[in-house]
């Protein structure tokens, strides 16, 4: 019978790196990581598999759900943390440095920067207005002198190309 603690030791760090590479932000990654492990801990009795590998896969399935939920909602859930009465831990500055190193964020950022440079200029500008300046689509469209659907399409295409590049880098 595999113990939760064994599985935690086997995958906790990898899982934190997994979230950091996806969010590019250690703090958000920590939110998702803590909630994932809290859910796994709270629901440990529901795990029906056998062996450490299956247990790790089960935890990663929870992580995948957390990540999908984060993309949909825009924030990390804290339901399990609250239910357990557990505080989300704080990242010490040297933890942040180490995490950035483990996740290879510096390389990832340069990959994103290069990928952004490879986009057509109109997609670059649309992404800058929408993602960096956080403008609504109506204003992005006005600035680019195109219709709102066209502005949405440019942002969407740009993001898709960036995400493909990122997936390759991972």
């Amino acid at each position: 019978v595999v113990e939760f603690e064994t599985v935690y030791d086997a995958c906790a760090e990898r899982l934190l790196v997994y979230f950091t590479r996806r969010t590019l932000d250690p703090e958000t990654a920590l939110d998702l990581w803590a909630e994932t492990l809290a859910q796994a801990y709270a629901g440990w009795r529901r795990f029906r598999g056998e062996g450490e590998d299956e247990a790790v896969a089960w935890v990663y399935a929870i992580a995948g759900n957390q990540w999908a939920g984060y993309l949909r909602r825009g924030y990390a859930e804290r339901r399990a943390l609250r239910r357990l009465g557990v505080e989300r831990p704080e990242l010490a500055p040297d933890d942040v440095e180490r995490l950035v190193e483990l996740a290879g964020l510096a390389e990832l950022r340069s990959v994103v920067g290069a990928a952004l440079g490879d986009l057509p200029p109109e997609q670059q500008e649309a992404l800058r207005l929408r993602v960096v300046e956080e403008l609504p689509y109506a204003e992005v469209a006005e600035r680019l002198n195109v219709t709102e659907p066209a502005a949405r399409a440019r942002v969407s295409r740009g993001l898709r190309r960036l995400s493909l590049t990122l997936e390759e880098a991972r």
Binding site: E13, L16, L81, R82, L84, L135, P136
Partner: protein
């Protein structure tokens, strides 16, 4: 084992947590579902429907990388705390974000679907862009028994903020954007206010041993929960005088954290000589629907040669103008003013946000200005025909 401290710390934290005892039976699930349906029905009846979702508000602050106070995109996080509004509708919460200077800033507002924003004039919920209401230094874990970490708001004072959420302006805690310019200033800025109900919002962080904030005395007995180390209290009126707030610890201890003092009312000084010397006037005397009205006065109303402070302005609209019947706001002196200097401030039709299309009502407006809520400086008038 990992060399990341956070990994080992959280392992210990989890091992101290108690797992939920057993899985609920089918019957328990059925009862829970029934109760949930009933609960939702009751909650909906109590709070009314949540508003439909509108477009996010555009940011009034340029997200410029060179500006030290610009928000860092992607750092906004809505806290888990939810405080009910006395008038019902979406609850209030806090959103933190980082700014380029490295500080953590917070803003408060109504929350729908995990997003923080305001209820607009159109009745829809509009997500607010990141904007700083107050900023703090590096966030370190609080000591276990800390009672007031990073606090915002005052339980018994201040003009409050608009009931439907804080507009996404920088420093818009009062709901009014205000300024005073000297006579040399070429373009006076505007005071933009809102005359709808206000809320006094009090929020702060506490150490992990604090489980609730209780307010007792002055005719109230309340218990406000701590969620993720934060409390939040939203009131339509100041905390009753004589009431005391206590932090309640895990072991049952109580510690007094603040009290609402009985306010001494300061009588307004009305000196005809001061009013005459101040010589206040509003221009233009006849305004258009959205005109900026500039109120000018000479700083001869206080004996000291230099002073800071604020004006309290009361603006009364024409009868029948529901939203501008009585607008109160403060104009902060942003620096020390010299005696004899000409000061001015601008007033635009009160609107909630910079996207609102507020207009002056037809009829006569009259305003009264008090210096520091105490010294009557006189009145001004203007009219929209």
């Amino acid at each position: 084992m990992s060399d990341l401290r956070v990994v080992s710390e959280f392992r210990e934290e989890l091992s101290r947590a108690r797992r939920p005892r057993r899985r609920p039976t089918r019957r328990a699930l059925l009862v829970a579902a029934l109760l949930a349906v009933l609960g939702v029905g009751i909650a909906t009846a109590a709070t009314g429907d949540f508003p439909p979702i509108g477009d996010p508000l555009p940011s009034p602050v340029r997200q410029d990388a060179d500006q030290p106070y610009s928000p860092v995109t992607g750092t906004g996080r809505v806290a888990a705390i939810r405080a009910p509004d006395p008038g019902g509708g979406p609850p209030w919460s806090v959103r933190t974000h980082r700014i380029r200077r490295g500080l953590t800033c917070i803003q408060i507002g109504r929350v729908v679907g995990g997003r923080l924003g305001v209820i607009g004039d159109d009745g829809k919920f509009h997500e607010a862009p990141l904007a700083a209401l107050s900023c703090f230094g590096p966030q370190r874990p609080l000591p276990p028994d800390a009672t007031l970490g990073q606090t915002l708001g005052s339980p018994s004072e201040g003009p409050g903020i608009p009931f439907n959420g804080t507009p996404p302006r920088e420093y818009s805690q009062t709901g009014c954007e205000s300024f005073v310019s000297s006579g040399q200033s070429s373009s006076p800025l505007a005071v933009i206010c809102d005359d709808r109900p206000r809320r006094l919002v009090d929020t702060g962080t506490v150490g992990p041993n604090v489980v609730a904030i209780e307010v007792r005395g002055g005719g109230v007995e309340e218990r406000h929960p701590i969620v993720d180390g934060r409390y939040m209290i939203v009131r339509a009126a100041p905390q009753p005088p004589g009431s005391i707030a206590y932090a309640v610890f895990r072991d049952g201890r109580r510690e007094r954290v603040w009290s609402a003092r009985r306010k001494r009312t300061t009588p307004v000084t009305s000196d005809p000589a001061v009013i005459r010397r101040t010589a206040m006037r509003a221009a233009p005397a006849v305004v258009g629907a959205r005109s900026l009205v500039t109120v000018t006065l000479r700083a001869r109303f206080y004996p000291k040669p230099k002073y800071g402070g604020w004006f309290r302005v009361t603006l009364s609209g024409p009868p029948g103008c529901r939203r501008q019947r009585r607008v109160e706001f403060e104009v902060l002196l942003d620096r020390m003013a010299r005696a004899g200097e000409t000061l001015s401030f601008g007033v635009r039709p009160p609107g909630l946000t910079h996207t609102d299309r507020a207009e002056w009502c037809r009829g006569r407006y009259s305003g009264r200005v008090l210096f520091r809520s105490r010294v009557d400086l006189g009145t001004f008038e203007f009219e929209r025909r």
